[in-house]
Structure formats: C-alpha cells, structure tokens
Subunit: 164 residues, 2 copies
C-alpha cells in the first residue's frame, strides 16, 4: 500500500504552529497584565467586556457562553465569582423563568475601564508592533473567513446533548 501523503505541508505546519504559539504567548502576557491591573482572569475580562458592550449591559448566560469559547459550568462558576465581586448581577429572566440574565454593574464598568488601557497596550506591543497597518488588514482579512468557517461548522461528531 502506498504511503499516504502528509495532510499538512511544511508551510501549513509552520502557520499552524506559529498560530498556536503566538496566541499562547499573547494570552499569558494578557493574563498577567489583567491580574496585576485589575485582578481579573482573561475569561472574566472577556465576559465583562462583552457585557459592557451590550445594549442593556446584560446577556443571558447561554449567549455569554456561546460568545466566549467556554463551558456552561465554567461560566456558572465565573459568573458566581464576578457576582461575589460586585461586578455583575444575576437575575432570572422575566420572559423565560429558566434563563438567567447577567448584567454588568457600575463597578464592573469601572473595572473594565481601569484595565482597558493596559490591555490594549500589551496587545499593541506584543502582537501589532512587528506588523504594518497593511499587515494587520491582511491578517484580519484572512482570519475572518476562518472564524466564520469554524463557527458554522459543527464539531463533526457533534451532539451538544445526546440527540435522541
């Protein structure tokens, strides 16, 4: 039987490894900055930022979990921490008694504002410093379709919950 050709050529491998490594290093740097500047984990920051940008400053738990790449149970845990810290409130939704509406508080908005400059600074310095404006546009243009592709493609052997 013939040797099946490698599914990834060297260029692809390089892109793949670089992608993973770049994001790992970036995340570490960001996490450290957020911890020092505002005692937030990256997930917590993402949640607050998302709420801060929402029309009413609130979202359902599920929408939050879908937005961030995160498990439901993990979200419950983090939402609990944020609530305990007074950065967020949780209340059952009026329309659907099952769902919980998470709303950012003033303290939460302040916290986001507090860490935001440092956050932007880290991203700018670590990620964008070696890239020209043109490069960034190109990068964004390449990643956007990939993002959409991944979002639209179900996890193959998917079954968020056992389907009948």
């Amino acid at each position: 039987m013939a040797e099946s050709p490698p599914l990834l050529d060297p260029v692809q491998l390089g892109a793949y490894f670089a992608l993973i490594e770049v994001v790992d290093l970036l995340r570490h740097a960001i996490e450290q900055q957020l911890r020092e500047a505002g005692d937030l984990s990256y997930v917590q920051f993402q949640l607050l930022a998302r709420l801060n940008g929402a029309p009413e400053g609130s979202h359902r738990m599920t929408d939050l979990a879908d937005g961030v790449v995160y498990s439901r149970s993990g979200l419950t845990y983090q939402a609990g921490l944020l609530e305990k810290a007074g950065l967020v409130t949780r209340a059952p939704s009026p329309e659907d008694e099952r769902s919980v509406t998470v709303t950012i508080t003033d303290a939460g908005r302040e916290r986001v504002q507090r860490v935001l400059p440092g956050h932007a600074e880290v991203v700018s310095r670590m990620l964008f410093q070696p890239l020209s404006g043109k490069d960034v546009e190109t990068l964004a243009g390449l990643l956007q379709p990939v993002r959409e592709h991944m979002r639209s493609t179900p996890p193959r052997s998917a079954a968020r919950r056992r389907r009948r």
Copy 2:
C-alpha cells in the same frame, strides 16, 4: 484633559478577536480529537510530538517547558502521567545530576503515529479549508515575525526568579 485615542483601531481589534477566537475553537476541536483518538491532552501530544522529532527522542525537562508554553510544575505533572502511561521514560542526566532527561518510548512513538492523521485532518478541515495556498503562505509570513518578536521580548516586568 483630552480623550486619549484608543490604542487599538477597529481593524486591529477585529484581527485580535478573530485570532483569539480562531485558536480557541481550533484547540477545542483538536483536544476532542486527541482525546478520542489516543486519549491524549493537547499538551501531552505537543510533548510527545516534540520528543518524537528530537534527534535522540529525548529532551531535558527545561527544554520541553520552554518549547511548549507551559509551567515547570505543570510539565512535571504531565511528564509523570506520560511516564505512568509508558509513553515516556525519565532519567537523571549523566552530565548534570540535577536535570532530568525525558525520552519517548516505542509505545510513545506509536501513539503519536496513531493520532497524527486525525490531528492533521482536523487542522486541515477547520483551519485551512477556507484558505488558499497563497493565503496560508501569507498567514505564515505574518505570524513568523510576531512569534519571534514575542519570543525575544521578555515579559516586561519579568523575573522568572526573583533577581537578587
């Protein structure tokens, strides 16, 4: 006082968010595949792959930790698991009594070979499907300098260990 301009423009924000999200989604998919195909976590796979590619099939702990973005203690833990699973052996280095040399076993190599095709398939399908060959080259070309930049730039307020 004047409003300080945002440190990140919309295009940069888009690139940044897409980058993070793409890698998060990719990692999840990969992790699931590795777990199903070979009962490996992503870190374990990375470690085995690195050892598999090494000249002697071995590395010192520190070199492994530096290669992967990972804490020392975490590496000790994972190396322990891999050893327990018989995929790797650990032995004190002959030259330096302090350091530990990790070596991949035949079973370890087999395991890598077993999961590799599926791994490549997932990466290919999720990441590269929406990209042309030219796109991939461009992406690799953009990320390479960023990777080097991050690697060479120390964590700013760095001090891996308390410096005097």
